[in-house]
């Protein structure tokens, strides 16, 4: 019924085009590095803000606050990524430029990707925190702990696998994000392999978009095949993350008491 993953079908249809001598000298490796670099940084920022928010929503907030915050975050998550890209180019990149010195750089990408994936992290983490049975909280408070101590020492360790799943899933969605990153990553042909987030860089999704947009890929078969190869690698990264999350879920289920 379902084809599964269309890119694999393309891969099969268009030959095993894993060209490692495409326009960038060392092949795809700088792109892999920069994609992972941008993804991990963005996820770290999203979790740093999203996890406390989830704790607040699950443990501390009243229902009126929740009914205001949750729909706002759902709306933010659905905001079209072109709009977020335009916003980032005109408002976030100048701020980064003034404070740090880099304009279209991974740092800007981190900020805007963190904002975009924040609702995702918050909702999944909150579900994980709410799944912890209330008896744990009541027992802990019966022993004299405050709500924060309960949240920190009892609830979070119980929800650890759910929170880890949230982190991995948001990493997967950030890796595949194209439009917002395309506009603000400062497309360079070969992304630098460096830990400095202020140099313009490139990621796999943005690279594919650039070449297809300029229709160069229609001309040479070699370039098109290398784009497909890059796409397959991206898909492999995201697929690995999804499989890891599925395994986590399966480990969690038998433990239910």
């Amino acid at each position: 019924m379902w084809q599964g993953s269309p890119a694999i079908i393309n891969w099969l249809l268009h030959g095993f085009g894993m060209e490692f001598n495409s326009v960038d000298e060392f092949g795809i490796i700088p792109y892999i590095f920069s994609t992972v670099y941008v993804g991990v940084g963005a996820t770290a920022a999203a979790v740093a803000i999203g996890l406390p928010t989830a704790i607040y929503l699950a443990e501390f907030s009243g229902s009126r606050t929740r009914n205001f915050i949750k729909p706002s975050m759902e709306t933010l998550s659905g905001m079209p990524s072109v709009v977020m890209g335009v916003f980032a180019y005109f408002y976030i990149a100048p701020i980064v430029f003034v404070f740090f010195g880099g304009f279209l750089c991974p740092l800007t990408a981190w900020i805007i990707l963190a904002i975009m994936s924040l609702p995702f992290v918050v909702s999944i983490s909150e579900d994980a925190l709410r799944a912890v049975p209330n008896s744990y909280r009541e027992a802990s408070q019966g022993l004299g702990a405050t709500r924060w101590q309960t949240a920190l020492r009892v609830v979070i360790p119980e929800a650890k696998s759910g929170i880890l799943a949230a982190i991995l899933l948001s990493l997967a969605s950030v890796l595949g994000e194209t439009m917002a990153v395309w506009m603000i990553i400062g497309s360079v042909t070969t992304p630098p392999i460096t830990l400095n987030p202020l140099l313009p860089s490139n990621v796999i999704s943005s690279m594919i978009a650039t070449y297809i947009y300029s229709s160069e890929a229609g001309q040479t078969a070699q370039l098109l095949q290398s784009l497909y190869g890059a796409g397959v690698i991206l898909l492999a990264m995201i697929g690995t993350l999804n499989i890891a999350v599925a395994l986590l879920a399966r480990n969690r289920a038998p433990k239910g008491e």
């Binding site: 803000i49 659905g78 709009v83 999804n242």
Partner: protein, 449 residues
Amino acid sequence: MTWYTYIKGRKKIALVAGSAVFTGSGILASYGLFLILNIVSRLVSGVSMVGALPFTDTTADFFLAALYFLAAAVLLMAAYLLMETHYGGSIVATVFGVCLFSASMLGNVSKVFGLMVAISCFIGASLGLWQRRRNPIAKTQASIVEEKIAKNVLRLTSLVAVVALFFVAAVIFTRGSSYISLTFLTSGWPPRKWLGVVDIIEGRATGGFGCGPAIAGSLLVVGLCEAICVPLGLGSAIFLAEYAAQNFFTRIIRFFVELLAGVPSIILGIFGFTFFSVEFGWHQRSLLGGAICLAFMTLPWNIRVAEEAIKAVPREFKAASYALGATKLQTIRRVILESAAPGILTGTLLGFGAAFGEAAVVIFSAGDPFASWPTTTNLWTFLTGSDMPTLPAWIYGAFTGPRSPNYAFWPKEQNVAFAGAFVLVAIFLAVTITALLGRNHLSKKLAGA
């Protein structure tokens, strides 16, 4: 207990805060003294008063350092007063100290003073922590304070998402509103005839630039996509929820649905870019191709939504229906679908909103951002041969347009992209808010039932 006795009772804060206040005032006083001496000497020697208020870099540093000290003193005292114990105050003091130090990176003089402030805060914090160790009562008070701090910090972080949303929306609506007009909404560039009816814009002199074709293209593509996804999603959801046994096969299906949901949009874009033109011989970018790619993306969402809505139907309804003698198909058609319909509707509406804003899939498979109204009247050719832009693709084109030399009649203004974003966000928000309100209304109805 008055302020004075409170501070007197806590000798350590008095030490820290007092020294900060005196140092700050000392700096300001010395600057004042320097100023007075300067003015007096100029008066005496007859030199003009023009340079009497020297504001060199060093002077600015002194001034700002003094202000920092005063601010540090005030904040420290406020912190210790608000927190009941030294523990909370110590943490706050350390945080303030670090912030002030980093904020004083203005000049070398300020750095030294900032460092002194940070050190005094650190000393105050250590003294407070030391006291906590020896005082058992302080430990209990400390956890209360910890709770207050944690609650407020968490509140702050949860505001980030809300503030981000409103900030983005506000920016887009203010910057984009300058271009919105009926011309903008209906014209394309360059204007052409459509379906034999002369474009109303053709009479106007300007090489109109507008997002008319983009809006129409978006509606067409997303409409086609939903037309594919809603029946398929509903069918699969009914199959998965009602008919299928919970065996290996259904687990595989569910796994593939989740996998499809996780495919990055750019992959679907290049899929559409080549697959439809190579395999079926359509035009390289076509509406139907774009709709099908978008359907790949939206189908998992529709399946999920439909399945959840069907599962949310209370079991009593099904049991009652079977008890009255209905067959499975009748139950599904008349009972389950009617109860689940509002849920499916709102979920589909949300998916419509999300698909409307999806750019990466459609920009390569459905439409060149710079195309305009199509010229053909044959439906099949229209669907497979014309490339109309979609609104998100149009925004991207407007974003890069001013920088590309090919589009000379493009007004080199950045706000056009914002205008397109305005339209897109307006449509998206309208759809999303309708869906969310509908869901609220629905959940209230179910709760009352």
